[in-house]
């Protein structure tokens, strides 16, 4: 077949290559169609809240139009209101857009990688080309450490192994040869795939697919087929908008009917209707929510969680299932020696990230012998110039196992390279898949010992076959069946922990047979390779990150199910799952129960098993009902040997259960699942661009533990948004009531539109944001994730409490101030009732007050009323802020310094508006007599006391309705 292919695609003249390149396009993955910036920008302005404000703005303009046509006195208030509403949406949109663009920029900096080069044979010449210039038919050469530049069919391979983890998730290197071994291109040994890496060996191959037509390209394109889901917070905000709209329209229609039956003109009634609806729009909330979310996003970024989409900040908080990758996220992504077996005993090694010593007993002479083999029978080397780096951080040339052994030896013994130099290597047989061992012969560093030392490592059973003795406490003892049995037990035990086990043996070659000058020939093997002395076993694993077990247990107490989804072997996956607590110490899988009871797996009642390890092969044959059953019935699940498509299926399965699913991933293969997830979390260091693009969040340190921080922040912001909304809704009533009373009782308008805007967008903004700094009231990581059907951001209780209780109290307080101002200026409350029409008629120039004075100019008095009302609401909002700070705890139980900033800013802004800007006509403020600031204070205190009593009841009788 190779001949066929070469004739079909001659690696011919350059012109041909250029032609093919023009036809197929560059050999690179088309980045997912980036949303145009303008669309991203506009999207910021059409969310749930923004729609509410837009409707408010349009209504205001309609109202303005009607009033202008009527020739009413001050129609421009409505025009300004509409403009301000629109401005709020636009400015908040710009802010949110800017925030998200900033995160995107941080991510973009990650993706600036050096362009990949490929070694190509064209026109019979070897040359380095940028990988994106490759075309089908090119012949490329690859060697250990290279990334495969395209899908290639191998025509020559020597000891070639590839790491297909970016494609399959499986990190075990697979060997590649020129032999066609399987119909399925994914299974056959003679194809190497784009984006995978060649771990060792060399190979030459013909490019068969480039760019998006490669296997990885096809997986990446799956991503675009997966729709984006609405974030939970977006759903909550939508619910809130419905609630507000419902209240607005109900009150509006009710008062429309009232005003019509009070014989107001229909047009006036319509203006009232619109006025009421618009008055219900919480102008400041959009800005507050956006700012609060971005504050949290900033806080999370400091803790290594970079959020791409502001709304995703909260999603982690409502997450109930995390589907986590194993390699790199839960584990350190490097092989590390975990256990040793010598002298018939298993020793554990330290596998933490920053080990500097090893604690196990190193006094036995057997260890001395073993350590020598580990040091010498190893081809891995440190890259030079890293002497100052900690050992675990140094870069090593060599495969994963040898690297592990090298670092292990370096930690215990010190300068390995020096030891090797002192024990000069005279011959070596590298590892190959037929022998399954590696061998080298050295001169020893003992000047009195002229013997050569033969050291060998490899698959334990193969090594044992070649041994006749075994070293116990430094003495060679015959390898009898009892000792062989002990070896088997140890081997099984280490293997059962999912660890890769290697056996080590040695032999001192007799001096007489192998004198100093003896020439070793590795081809003819003119030296003994049997009857060796078995020394010990070492087992290695990619160990969990040390922070992960704690993080998993935190997730568990937070009611979040952690599911491991990996391409790795089930045994390894299970072992890691156990060591990090994804499968807890006490729970068993069906297989475990079967083993314990000694019955076949089929007879086990699977309901008894709390844990499950599901193999990708089993998953392939499962119906979605079966998958649902597994997801429902097991609290601890590990999916092993899964393919990218299966990851997507698992995510969908969890979502069918009503769970909010977070998915972590790094490879291109993960991107469909990342996109499908409610929140996709990509790895910042190891993650591919495709994964980062599909994700909503990026973990800058690739650490699972950072997710827990994110969960905590997400839950906190949800709680705090609740407080913010409660705070904002309350004064809405105090702003709406005056208008309603104005319609019904026909009193002079107590507070004007512009003044209301100064509350919503002036005094109340900073306090609302200050609530976002509120700390958690109880341990939020000890409660279950919120039930997205029941635990709403704004529920009826909160709305009723804000609207019908606190809001009404505020209104009463503000009205007292209003009536006081008018009464002290000469208009007693009884005089004010029913005066609306004459009061607003500018042709009536001698409006008589309660004392017989005649008023021609009532606007300033009306503005004084506005200012008084404004000041009263502000004062009472301070009380509102204090009560909203906590939902259960007393104010005395919980402090928050930022709240003080909120309170001072609120009063400060009010002072500036009334005294500083009191003479600016357009703002409708007047310098207010100082005593009016205190009229509402008793009401503010009343609000606070009332709420403290309520909280006391809640703490005393929790759970009652």
């Amino acid at each position: 077949p190779v001949q066929n292919m070469t004739s079909k695609f001659p690696s011919g003249p350059l012109a041909k290559a250029a032609q093919v390149l023009a036809r197929d396009g560059p050999n690179a993955l088309t980045p997912p169609k980036a949303t145009p910036e303008i669309v991203k920008f506009l999207k910021q302005m059409i969310g749930g809240f923004s729609i509410l404000l837009w409707i408010g703005a349009v209504f205001s303009w309609i109202s303005f139009g009607i009033q202008l046509a009527q020739g009413a006195e001050s129609p421009f208030d409505n025009l300004y209101l509409g403009v301000v509403l629109a401005l709020v949406v636009i400015l908040t949109g710009i802010f949110a857009y800017y925030q998200e663009a900033k995160s995107t920029n941080i991510m973009a900096s990650f993706s600036k990688m050096i362009p990949q080069q490929a070694l190509v044979i064209r026109d019979g010449e070897k040359k380095e080309l940028p990988a994106d210039q490759l075309v089908v038919g090119d012949i490329v050469e690859i060697k250990g450490g290279d990334r495969i530049p395209a899908d290639i069919r191998l025509i020559f391979a020597q000891g070639c192994k590839v790491d297909n983890s970016s494609l399959t998730g499986e990190s075990e290197p697979q060997s590649r040869s020129c032999d066609f071994t399987h119909e399925n291109p994914l299974e056959t040994k003679n194809i190497a795939f784009y984006s995978t890496t060649c771990v060792e060996g060399t190979a030459t191959g013909i490019v068969i697919n480039t760019g998006d037509r490669t296997i990885i390209g096809r997986i990446a394109s799956l991503t675009s087929g997966v729709g984006n889901e609405k974030t939970p917070i977006a759903i909550e905000i939508e619910h809130f908008v419905y609630l507000v709209a419902g209240v607005a329209i109900s009150i509006g229609v009710l008062f429309f009917i009232i005003s019509v039956s009070m014989r107001y003109k229909i047009l006036d009634s319509i203006i009232f209707l619109i006025g009421i609806i618009v008055a219900n729009v919480p102008e400041g909330l959009l800005a507050t929510v956006t700012v609060s979310l971005s504050l949290t996003a900033k806080r999370m970024a400091k803790k290594n969680c970079l959020v791409k989409n502001l709304e995703a900040v909260e999603t982690l908080g409502s997450t109930s299932v995390i589907c986590s990758d194993k390699t790199g996220t839960l584990t350190q992504n490097r092989m590390t020696v975990a256990h040793l077996w010598f002298d018939n005993q298993i020793y554990s090694a330290d596998t933490s990230e920053d080990q500097t010593t090893q604690p196990f007993d190193q006094s036995s002479p057997s260890w001395t012998a073993l350590s020598k083999i580990v040091t010498l029978c190893n081809r891995a080397e440190f890259r030079p110039g890293q002497e100052n780096l900690p050992i675990m951080k140094r870069v090593v040339v060599g495969d994963a196992s040898e690297t592990a052994l090298l670092k292990f030896a370096e930690v215990i013994l010190g300068d390995v390279m020096n030891i090797r130099a002192q024990n000069k290597k005279v011959a070596e047989i590298p590892f190959n898949s037929t022998n399954k061992f590696q061998l080298s012969i050295h001169k020893t560093d003992d000047p009195n010992d002229e013997r050569f030392l033969l050291v060998m490592k490899g698959a334990p059973e193969r090594i044992l076959e070649r041994c006749s003795t075994i070293m116990i406490n430094g003495k060679e003892e015959p390898l009898d069946s009892e000792k062989a049995e002990a070896f088997q037990t140890a081997y099984m035990e280490l293997g059962g922990m999912g660890e890769r086990v290697l056996g080590f043996c040695h032999l001192y070659l007799p001096e007489n047979e192998f004198p100093d000058t003896y020439s070793f020939d590795t081809d003819s093997m003119n030296f003994p390779t049997s009857n060796l002395c078995f020394v010990g076993l070492l087992s290695m694993i990619d160990p969990p990150r040390s922070t992960v077990p704690d993080a998993v247990s935190k997730c568990r107490s937070a009611g979040i199910k952690v599911i491991m989804v990996t391409g790795d072997h089930p045994i390894t996956a299970k072992a890691i799952a156990k060591s990090v607590g994804i499968i807890s110490a006490t729970s068993e899988t069906v297989e475990d129960i079967a083993k314990r009871l000694n019955i076949p797996v089929e007879q086990v009642n699977w309901r008894e098993a709390t844990a499950a390890v599901v193999n990708g092969m089993e998953l392939k044959d499962m119906s979605s009902q079966q998958l649902d059953e597994i997801l429902c019935n097991h609290s601890e699940i590990v999916f092993a040997r899964t393919s990218p498509q299966q990851k997507l299926i698992i995510v969908e399965g969890c979502q069918r259960q009503g769970a909010v699913v977070a998915v972590t991933g790094d490879g291109v293969n993960d991107s469909p699942a990342l996109k499908k997830a409610d929140i996709g979390i990509a790895m910042g260091i190891a993650g591919s661009d495709a994964a980062k693009n599909a994700a909503d969040m990026v973990l800058l340190d690739d650490n699972f533990a950072s997710i827990v921080t994110g969960v905590e922040e997400g839950r906190l912001i949800f709680d705090n948004l609740k407080k913010t909304i409660a705070y904002t809704l309350t004064k809405n009533i105090a702003e709406l009531c005056p208008f309603l009373i104005y319609i019904i009782a026909s009193i002079p308008l107590p507070i004007g539109t512009i003044t209301i805007l100064f509350i919503d967008l002036g005094t109340d903004i900073i306090p609302s944001v200050a609530l976002a700094y509120e700390k958690a009231e109880s341990d939020i990581m000890n409660r279950r994730p919120r039930n997205k059907r029941k635990d709403r951001l704004v529920n009826e209780q909160l709305a009723i409490y804000s609207y019908l209780q606190i809001g009404i109290m505020q209104s009463v307080g503000a009205f007292v101030t209003y009536f006081t101002v008018y009464a002290e200026q000469g208009f007693l409350p009884s005089t004010l009732l029913g005066v609306r029409v004459n009061w607003e008629n500018n042709a009536i120039n001698d409006f008589e007050d309660s004392y017989g004075q005649e008023w021609y100019q009532r606007t300033y008095l009306q503005w004084t009323g506005y200012t008084a009302f404004f000041v009263s609401i502000t004062i009472q909002q301070v009380a509102d802020l204090i009560i909203r700070k906590t939902r259960r705890n007393s104010i005395f139980q919980q402090g928050n310094k930022v709240i003080w900033v909120g309170i001072f800013s609120q009063i400060g802004i009010a002072l500036i508006l009334t005294y500083g800007l009191g003479h600016v006509t357009a703002l409708n403020f007047t310098p207010l007599r100082f005593q009016y600031w205190f009229v509402a204070v008793p009401f503010a205190i009343l609000i606070w006391v009332y709420d403290e009593v309520r909280k006391l009841f809640i703490r005393r009788y929790p759970g009652s309705k």
């Binding site: 009404i808 007292v816 002290e824 120039n845 004392y851 005649e854 100019q857």
Partner: protein, 280 residues
């Protein structure tokens, strides 16, 4: 997130019905009658308490006020002017001098307005010294000064029952707004002018539109019960060529340094503008 499957219509209807009234638990709109009763009781008590509190604070506040003068008078320091009769719509007079119906309302308004100036109503009023502020600060019972209707001459309505409307010389009364404690300085007088020259000749009663200082200060409704504010009648003799044309007239208060009449933004401070259009 999986989309919630849509419930069949019938099922959702039953659910709604269950919500509105659930016969099993006796729940109405999700709550039992007892629960609703308690909620109602709570709000009754809650709002009752708030209403009581509101009433109480208002009562306390009203106790601090004097019956005689308002606590603050800083929002009206200088008076505005007002005319009578005041047309319904804007300050615009339209009438036909030969059609009594067209000005009947103006005449009725003037008549009603001047009722309180009738001699019979002024029996308790005293004759004050003209040209001097009538200070009564030390007197418990404040006297009101007499304002003789005859001062209004042809506009008093005595000789001409139509106040000149039938003759094409309509009268408009100009008054200065009552402000408690206001003491004008100098010699305040009303002066009117038409923007269009030669269309109208303006006569004043009392002559020159003088406002006598003896009518000041005003002590408020309760102390100064019979107080009558001084009036100036402005008679507009409309030129016979200027009928059918709209004549804009502006009256100002002049001659008193503490009565302001120039404020760009405030067109009623010490002045008033109105329009007259007469047809034949």
């Amino acid at each position: 997130m999986s989309k919630e499957t849509k419930k069949p219509f019938r099922q959702s209807m039953t659910e709604w019905r269950q919500f509105i009234y659930n016969p099993n638990s006796g729940e109405f709109l999700g709550r039992t009658a007892k629960s609703w009763g308690l909620i109602l009781l709570f709000y009754l008590v809650f709002y009752g308490f708030l209403a009581a509190l509101f009433t109480f604070t208002m009562w306390v506040m009203l106790q601090t006020l004097s019956n005689d003068i308002p606590k603050y008078r800083d929002r009206i320091s200088s008076p505005g002017l007002m005319i009578s009769p005041k047309p319904d719509t804007a300050l615009e007079f339209y009438f036909n001098k030969s059609d009594a119906q067209s000005y009947a309302e103006y005449v009725a308004t003037l008549r009603k307005f001047l009722e309180s100036y009738d001699d019979s109503k002024q029996s308790q009023n005293i004759n004050c010294t003209p040209g001097r502020i009538f200070d009564q600060n030390d007197v418990a019972v404040k006297k009101a000064c007499r304002f003789n209707l005859s001062e209004l001459g042809q506009c008093s309505g005595k000789e001409d029952k139509t106040f000149g409307y039938s003759k094409g010389t309509p009268c408009v009364l100009v008054k200065v707004n009552r402000i408690i404690g206001l003491k004008p300085e100098g010699e305040p007088r009303i002066q009117c002018a038409s923007k269009e020259a030669g269309m109208v000749e303006i006569n004043y009663f009392p002559p020159e539109g003088l406002i006598d200082l003896m009518y000041f200060p005003y002590y408020g409704k309760s102390l100064h019960a019979h107080y009558l504010q001084p009036l100036v009648a402005v008679q507009l003799a409309i030129n016979s060529n200027s009928t059918k044309e709209e004549i804009a007239i502006e009256c100002k208060i002049l001659g008193s340094p503490n009565l302001k009449n120039e404020d760009d933004r405030d067109k009623f401070l010490g002045r008033i503008a109105f329009k007259v259009q007469m047809t034949e």
